[in-house]
Amino acid sequence: MKTFIPFVALSAALAANAAAAEGKLTISVYSFAQDAYKEALYDPFEEICDCELVIETGNSVERMAKIEANAADPVIDMAVISSHDALSLAQKGLLQPIDTSKLSSFDKLYPAAQDPLGDNMGVGYTFYASSIVYREDLVTIDSWGDLLGDDLAGNVSLPNITGTQGPLTLMMLDKAAGGDASDFTGTISDIGAHADDIVTFYSRSSELAQLMNQEEVIAAPVGRFAWSRFKSSPLPFAWAEPKEGQAGGMNVMIMTANNGNEELAYKLMDYWLSTEAQTRIAEALIDSPANMDVTLSDEIAENLTYGADLINSLNILPPSTIIAERDAWVDQWNTEVIR
């Protein structure tokens, strides 16, 4: 008799899994601010769609790798990732074009967000600025070049090259050194020469927030979406406005090919882009809106990447450049920086 217990329990668990699959949408998102997201987006959506969201978290490149590994039988229905990782998936034929007629707020999106990858392979849902967050009681930051300066030696973290923020940091360091973003070889060598001064190379903004709150690190480049974690800290963090300007980027939502759950995925995309949801997410100080109809108080707007003027001022690295160059960067990085 005892023999049966585990098998009965296991099959019961499996059956429960299968039964729940009816109204279930599996999405893949960034790992920061999940509590806030639950309140601003997941819970209200589950209420409306009468379905269950299953959420996978991680940084963009890891989740991209997972989608690729599971391509034969997609686990993830819909994902939000960086524009260049999305483009890379699209080029490998792992995405399906998004039928924009199913997105009621599509026309309200900034033109740059409507079809950033071509062929409607992705829709931008947020813009972000990237700059340096630092401890204003300990250092001052005027330039991206300060990251490799003596004041920060031993107390600075840089984003890992494989992540979304890595290439942006390369671009701005290159600009600070007088480059024109055409070749980052020198910049990577420069970072390599300072490798011992860098505490660690972080791969998730949540990880960086952690390191800075623990005082392991006092300055690092990061995307504005992570700002609320720093702002709410008891430590005096500030957002730098370096003379080279801020870097920036866009995250996009994508639909995996042949996932069989398109209807629910469109529902979530539609809801996520709606003025209502975009406003609520913005007011929680997580992601800045891509929907032009979102109006925010000055106080909220100040913490986000809000408004056409700011968005247009950002230094942007084209996704196609990143994809074309990334392997070479990683090779050089592994040789000269991580050693």
């Binding site: 005892k2 585990p6 996978e56």
Partner: protein, 258 residues
């Protein structure tokens, strides 16, 4: 001159081995927001918070399920195997022994990756089944070894006598052997339970949306925040493991079997 350096050496060694863990217990008692030692004021709020984190509850249930049923499955496979290896002159006994012991030798992370790539994906198996199978395979060597050593201590002529007196082989096993190796089976269960519950490397790749074992869930929680709740959870889990082992030791002299 003798007693002093002995206790100095032992004291230093034990401080190194157990001290960090005591710090974790106290860090979890902090009233402050950040992980710190000594704690900033005392409170049980982080111990309480552990029970309110949804993902901890789900992953705890999964880890419990795997530890209990994975180990039971390993025993169901392992006890007959241990019995056969002990009482029969099997053809290829050495091979069987080696195969069954293999999961101990292969690093866990490789196991997890292999199963993900060449079991889960091609056969379209769910992550849950893969975890169950992995944990069973990882516990199986312990089950076979511990049950074997307890069979070794049991003289075979008792079963023989039972058979001569008219029992079938199965009856003899159930009536004579099983009651006598009960302690060994329980010891194997506890060992397997603890090993499975704390397992990390093999479960690392075997996680999907919504399916994660507790240690893996703790790791990913720590990437987001180091608030003292992870310290509190670590302490609670340790108390659980130590409590189980302590009880087992008290009730059956567990360490005789390991």
């Amino acid at each position: 001159m003798k007693a002093f350096p002995i206790w100095l050496i032992l004291g230093a060694t034990l401080t190194f081995l157990i001290g960090p863990f005591l710090i974790v217990i106290f860090a979890g008692l902090s009233a402050g927001e950040a992980l710190a030692f000594p704690p900033q004021g005392l409170s049980l709020k982080w111990y309480a918070k552990v029970f309110t984190v949804e993902s901890f509850r789900a992953s705890f249930a999964l880890s419990m399920f795997l530890a209990v049923f994975g180990t039971l499955a390993a025993l169901i496979l392992g006890i007959p195997a241990a019995y056969a290896l002990n009482r029969y002159k099997l053809p290829g006994a050495e091979t069987i022994r080696t195969v069954v012991a293999a999961p101990i030798i292969v690093p866990g992370i490789i196991v997890g990756l292999s199963l993900l790539r060449y079991f889960v994906v091609p056969l379209n198996v769910s992550i849950l089944v893969a975890l169950f199978v992995t944990h069973t395979a990882l516990v199986l060597p312990y089950a076979v070894r511990v049950v074997s050593s307890s069979l070794n201590n049991l003289r075979a002529d008792m079963e023989e006598a039972a058979v001569i007196l008219g029992c079938t082989r199965l009856q003899a096993f159930i009536k004579v052997v099983l009651p006598n190796i009960r302690g060994g089976i329980l010891a194997a269960f506890i060992l397997g339970f603890v090993a499975s519950f704390n397992e990390v490397p093999a479960s690392l790749f075997l996680s999907g949306p919504g399916v994660r074992t507790l240690p893996i869930d703790m790791l990913s929680y720590m990437e987001i925040t180091f608030d003292p709740s992870v310290a509190a959870l670590s302490a609670l889990l340790a108390f659980m493991s130590v409590g189980i082992v302590f009880l087992a030791e008290r009730l059956l002299g567990f360490s005789r079997y390991v």
